[in-house]
Structure formats: C-alpha cells, structure tokens
Amino acid sequence: MSEFGYIPESPEQSFGNNKGIFTPKDIYDLTRADKYTNYGQLELIETLTVSNVAEVDFTNLGTYNVHFMTFNDIHSANDNVILSIRFYESGVLETASVYQYAYQYGNVNGSFGDSRSTVQNRIYTLMNVGNATNETANGYSYFYNLIDSSKYSFSTFQSMTINNQPNGNMNFGSGVLPQASSVTGINVVMQSGNITSGTISLYGIRYS
C-alpha cells in the first residue's frame, strides 16, 4: 500500500510542506483538510446574515495581512443612507473623526463626482441606498495591514447600489485609519437607522 507515492506511507502532509505524488482526489482531500499548499487562497472567516440591527462586528481577523469583505443584498431601514466601516483597535471602537476616505461616484443618470474627507468618523464604503423594494446595496472591500500594530489600516472598495430616486449608483475608492495600531475587529454600520437585511462575509487572503 502506498500513500502519495511513498511505501508504506508518506511523510505528514501540511500546508507549505507537501511531499509525494498526488492524484486529483488526493489534492481534493488534502485541500478540504487544509493540508494542501495553494498560495493566495481566499479563506472564509465568517458570514453574518444581518437582520434589523444598526451595526455588526467581525471580531475574528485571524492572522491575515489582507482581508476581503463582500456585501450582498443590503437593505436599509432609513432612506438614502451609506454603509460604512469603522475599526476596533485593541478591542476599542474608534469613533473619533480620524478616518480618511476618497471615492469616485457615478449615477446612471449622469451625475458624477468625488467624495473625500480627512476628518471623518468612519470610512464611507457603499454608495447611498434607498429603503424601498429593490433598493439594495452591493459591493466589496479589501483591507490591508489591519492586524499589524506598526502600520496604518487601509481599505479599497467598490459598490453598486440603488438609491431613493431610485437610480443606480456606483462608487470606487479607498480609505485609511492613519494610526499605527492593532485592529482587532471590523464594525459595519449604517449611516443612520438599521441594516434591515443582507449578508456580509469576511475572508482572509492567505499567502506566504
């Protein structure tokens, strides 16, 4: 009996340390056991199905240097509001006007512009969303250096929403918390009122 080409059995397999000859089934089984080396993997940390809350927190960031978050089918209780991001630093939510952001926005009816601030109490991330049927917000954000206490915490984002007109809106841009700190959590908060429903998922990007 051979295992991965070794007789009688192979060395212990682990991420970053695979030895042997692998069939497609071997690769599948080792991947499911998190023992097969695939650099740049997108790894799900947590998915939150949101229901009638003003904000949600992701408090497990793992050991990733880059995170990815998706926002799917976000409905708002209040009309024409923006979904934003704040960070917990060593367990304490930063609510001071110390965040910076800059984004380009555009409306399907031709209204375009930019929005930016160096003294905001959050990073505005998804575009304005209405609160009527089919008025939803959708998008994604990447986060960089969150857990590194020697670096600022950056984000990039892109979204497509329907506002209260109702018109389609897009935006793309970036943000930063310009403080060298250890971010221990991500707070997702509506500008006002509740997030009525939606799904938000946080991933870590694994690389060596």
């Binding site: 993997q41 997108l42 790894e43 799900l44 998706t70 799917n72 089918d73 380009q104 555009g106 409306n107 399907v108 009816n109 031709g110 375009f112 089919n134 939803t136 959708n138 998008g139 994604y140 892109q158 979204s159 497509m160 929403t161 329907i162 018109n167 389609g168 809106n169 897009m170 793309f172 799904t199 998922s201 991933y203």
Partner: protein
C-alpha cells in the same frame, strides 16, 4: 473555501458569443476575463444576463462607470434602459494586446425578487495600438428575476480568443 470555479470557456477559434451559466445560489459570484480579442477590428465587448441560459434582451440595463484613459482626460459613461451592458471600456482590435481584461462581481443574480447587480473593473488596450483605458463602475438589470449567468459578445463580428471564468465566492 474561497473561489469555486463554476464555468469556464477558452476561445481558440472565433465564436459569436460565450455564455457562462451555473449561478444557482445566493452567494456572490465573480467573473474573470482575460485577453479577450475580437475577430473584427474596432468592435466592443458587450454582455447580457441570462435567464435559464438565454440572454435577456429587454431594455432593462442601467450602468454608470468612470472611464480612465492614459492618453487623455477621464470621462463618465452612463446609461439607462439599454438592452445590454458592457464589461469593456472601449473598442478593441486585432492588433497585439488590443484586448479586454477584467473582473466582475455579481450580486443577487439568483434571487427572483431582487434586481441583479454587478461591479465592473476592467483594463483595455484599445484598437488604436492598445491605448490604455481603465474602467470602474457597475450595472444593474432592473428586473426582479433569477439570472443564472452572463452572455458575452462583440457588437459586431465574433470573439476571436480569450478566457472567461465564472466563480462562486464561498
């Protein structure tokens, strides 16, 4: 975990269209398209959502994007009630690297009660010796229907080459 490939097609001889289907859950989906070249010079890549595998040709596509050009000023691109939408920022051609390359994220496609949304991020080498265009924005199909994929095609002629891949983000 991560990106699970749902469908892929690599074009090696000219085809009229490429259809990627398989969206069957409420997850976010992603499309990566690479080195998409036309068979006819100065034509533009377009797309439609598919419903049970067939393209929706109704005039219910809205879009807004910023067109960022290396050789001139930026411009705004927007429309409502079109019968298609765009994963490209400019016409491409039959010369070297006159291609489209980009990423789409798709939201709510599977839901029969919501509109289907997408964000678009693409880089294009245009038909005039691959001048650089970047494009970032989004589109929405303003019909409450369950969509299972996308169909890609040129506004004239065929797709000559390139790879399209649909992933589920899990």
């Amino acid at each position: 975990m991560g990106l699970v490939q749902v469908a892929t097609e690599t074009v090696t001889s000219a085809v009229a269209s490429v259809t990627l289907t398989g969206i069957d859950s409420d997850d976010v989906y992603m499309v990566a398209y690479n080195n998409i070249a036309p068979s006819t010079d100065a034509t533009q890549l377009q797309m439609r959502v598919t419903v049970s595998g067939s393209p929706d040709t109704s005039s219910n596509y809205d879009r807004a994007s910023k067109s960022m050009k290396a050789f001139t000023t930026f411009s705004n691109s927007y429309a409502t009630n079109e019968n298609l939408t765009y994963p490209s920022s400019a016409q491409t051609g039959t010369g070297t690297s006159e291609t489209n390359n980009g990423i789409l994220y798709l939201y709510n496609f599977n839901s029969s009660s919501e509109y289907s949304f997408g964000t678009v991020e693409v880089v294009t080498g245009d038909y005039a010796s691959a001048r650089l265009y970047g494009w970032a924005g989004g589109f929405v199909n303003t019909v409450s229907q369950s969509c299972d994929g996308l169909q890609f095609f040129q506004n004239s002629g065929n797709i000559a080459s390139g790879t399209f891949t649909l992933y589920r983000v899990v």
